[in-house]
């Protein structure tokens, strides 16, 4: 049996009820609320600053979207606990799709990703245009994808391309992705990245990775490389057996 209840994928009939008509799609961005079951839920109604979404007093009612009022701003996307709202813009040569995304690592603008359909099957290639992680989104990132126009009604998810891990710190096997993630989570200095990831704490004591780490921090934070200072140099600057230092000291 087709349908969201049986396969998790909306049936064509279910979709027909929620997809905007071609004329509206061609006019510019519009929300697509793929909510087809009567569940008690209504945050979308309040999320819309234009009053385009109505659920009503009976909160199990399906949301009704007034597409004439909808500006496609996407404020409703992260407010839907079911992650069922998308904003599709098929007015250009290329379609854009704003979708909710709650996986880590987050993609970055410019990434090329595999676009997935409602069944999670690859539907083509998408380009990440924007990743919105504003605090108000409460941890639901809103990712804007660019896809071929014919995929506007098809693509509802994406998978980052299986990138080969790039090792930055070889001693402790810390990848580029881990370091970028640490910076995005607030490690803004070489020392902070070191504490968060152990990059630079291995046998070579950072000789291999510290410059690469500095560059990643500069890139991620928009700083000039001159502003990214090395981690505090502390003795011993070379790896030594601890016993050597713990042993006798002939100080003077």
């Amino acid at each position: 049996m087709p349908g969201v209840k049986y396969s998790g994928r909306l049936s064509d009939a279910e979709l027909a009820a929620v997809l905007p008509p071609a004329e509206r799609l061609a006019q510019g961005p519009v929300a697509v609320i793929e909510c087809v079951q009567s569940i008690p839920c209504n945050p979308c109604e309040k999320a819309c600053p234009f009053g385009a979404i109505t659920v009503g007093d009976d909160i199990t009612a399906l949301p009704a979207l007034d597409r004439a009022k909808c500006k496609g701003c996407g404020l409703c996307i992260s407010r839907c606990p079911g992650l069922a709202i998308f904003v599709v813009d098929a007015s250009g040569d290329e379609a854009t799709i704003m979708l909710p995304y709650e996986y880590l690592p987050l993609p970055a603008a410019g990434d090329v990703v595999d676009a997935l359909d409602r069944s999670g099957k690859p539907a083509g290639t998408a380009r990440v245009l924007k990743v919105n992680t504003a605090a108000g989104l409460e941890g639901t990132a809103v990712v804007t994808l660019a896809v071929p126009r014919k995929l506007a009604d098809i693509v509802r998810n994406f998978r980052p391309r299986g990138r080969d891990a790039i090792y930055i710190c070889r001693c402790n096997e810390v990848s580029e992705a881990e370091i970028r993630q640490a910076v995005r989570e607030g490690a803004r200095t070489v020392a902070a990245v070191k504490l968060a990831t152990r990059a630079g704490m291995g046998l070579c004591q950072g000789r291999t990775c510290r410059r690469l780490v500095s560059r990643i921090i500069a890139e991620e934070t928009g700083q000039h490389p001159a502003e990214v200072l090395p981690a505090t140099a502390r003795p011993p600057v070379r790896t030594l057996p601890l016993g050597t230092l713990a042993g006798g000291e002939d100080d003077e």
Binding site: P235, T244, D251
Partner: protein, 367 residues
Amino acid sequence: MTNNYDIVIAGAGPAGLAAAVEAARRGARTLVVDENTKPGGQLFKQIHKFFGSHEHKAGVRGFAIGEKLLAEAAELGVEVWLNSVVWGLFANKVAVVRGGEQITLAAKKIILATGASENAVAFPGAALPGVMGAGAIQTMINVHRVLPGKRVVMLGSGNVGLIVAYQLLQAGAEVVALVEAASAIGGYGVHAAKIRRAGVPILVGTTIARAFGRGQVEGVVLAKLDESFQPVPGGETTLAIDTVGIAVGLTPLTELAWMAGCQFVFSPRLGGHVPLHDADMETTLSGVYVAGDITGVEEASTAMEEGRLAGIAAAAALGYGAAAAEADKAAVRSRMDVLRSGPFGLGRRTAKAEILAQRKEAASCRE
């Protein structure tokens, strides 16, 4: 006690040895500490002839210059501790581990000549065995006489990349390509011409997109780059190789200077953060001198001149050879200026002048 030296020098490379020779010649009791099993730093890997003019030992091969320096140092009674690690610098105390034993040296003057370390690049597969720094390749072929592989691609067209590619050819390897991300070759044209006429393609505007292989590098994918260093669609080429040489510059090894509390300046042309120093190579900390690549990445020839300058200045500050010191230093400085002349030296010359200017400013701020 015996561990009281006039001058302790960290690093027995060209800068450290040259500093030691000048200091010892003037009568200072001098010790050089180096973590390696052999002195000479990178000099003994340099089997090519150096540039410069006669007084810079132009035309002499690097290792021969190293042998001469070592002989001079031995003759002058310079003590050289090998396999000895300087692991910390605390005021005028140099912390050393030698033969498993911790020794604290009291030094009247300290010269840091720790050199530089090679920059790494990150691309998928960069951590595969067979991908190595150009310095490692040089050690293997020129010191240990072992080929790292048979088919090599070299990344980086500065003098290091060009010279090591040439030395690989000399050692019997095939250099499949030398690739350079910039639109022009970075190093000397003469070095480039040598490998070009041996049939090595030099691919500018190209980089290594990734390396691949099972347990060992078996190939690389090269990518053509546009002017903004972005890959050109369809510009990928795959080469079957077993070794990748990385020659993308060096970074000064400055931990001891940071730890001591020297003031630093950021100089992209010199390889990153470098300690400020004056015309005598003294840092913002009285009695702590720097020489060679720690002050900014250059060549062995300039490193030796800086070492001489630091050696003369540190000795003179202790009263050794003080009368002739100004004239001696002036002679070194003029030789050094020559090494930094011409279009290739312009960037370094300007950057070095900037360091001296900033050092003066730092000094006047304190007064």
